[in-house]
């Protein structure tokens, strides 16, 4: 178990960033090249590469150079897309409840 700890820390840090969670979700739907990712997240190649490197170090993503294209896929841990999805879900839900709170404040007294 102990040998997992550094990796868990890395995974945790990797998952703390919304773009990286987005990348994991995207890869959950299928492998993608760095430039695919750059296009779907509207980021520079350099920016995406940085994120991919963090994910790779955490063991959440593996990459492979095929010709001039760097292909990314989830792994080696199979279930990380789900973890990312749950983490993302949690964040969405919290934001949604923030939004509900703001809505209720905003509309106070204006309903019949």
């Amino acid at each position: 178990m102990v040998q997992y700890l550094p990796r868990l820390d890395a995974a945790f840090a990797a998952l703390s960033d919304p773009t990286r969670r987005g990348i994991l979700e995207r890869l959950g739907a299928g492998d993608a090249s760095v430039s695919d990712l750059a296009a779907s997240f509207d980021m520079t190649l350099t920016g995406v590469k940085k994120h991919v490197r963090v994910l790779e170090q955490a063991g959440l993503v593996t990459t492979k150079k095929i010709g001039r294209v760097r292909q990314c896929r989830l792994g080696p841990r199979r279930l990380d897309a789900e973890t990312a999805w749950i983490a993302n879900y949690q964040q969405m839900l919290e934001e949604r409840l923030d939004s509900l709170g703001e809505f209720l404040e905003r509309t106070k007294g204006s309903e019949s």
């Binding site: 279930l79 749950i86 919290e94 934001e95 923030d98 509900l100 209720l104």
Partner: protein, 165 residues
Amino acid sequence: MSASLKEPAAGVQIGKAGEREIRIERIFNAPRERVWRAFTDPKLVAQWWGRGREMTIERMEVERGGHWRFIVPSPHGPQGFEGRFREVSPPSRIVWTFEWDGMPGYVAVETVVFEELGDGRTRLVTTSLFHTIEERDGALSSGMAEGVADSYAALDRLLATRAAP
């Protein structure tokens, strides 16, 4: 976007009842009837569910077995969310399933409980239970189980940090 709430009509509490459960409690400065309406009237839902983004409610049949489907714009294109109502018990309880188009097959069951606090405020308790594909396929090998434990350990840490003030 997701500005965190500065003044809290909401206390956030994140606990964990099961390995695959996320529980969030909030207290809203509004009577239960209003909170219930905000959740069940599509015209009102459209004003907050999209987290500040203009969303489309394609379907919302608030009754047992009824479908719901919402489209929310995002920087990566429109995102679809959908599910079915499993229970609608006004004004205290809703259970619905929740799926995101981006992760088809990953289903969460959300239970929302509306508790009147008696002072014009309402406590909302949201419990989300995740059903995994692995579970449904019955393919939970021991190696996979380890992976699950690993994943959830990472998730726990993530949630614990978020819960910290």
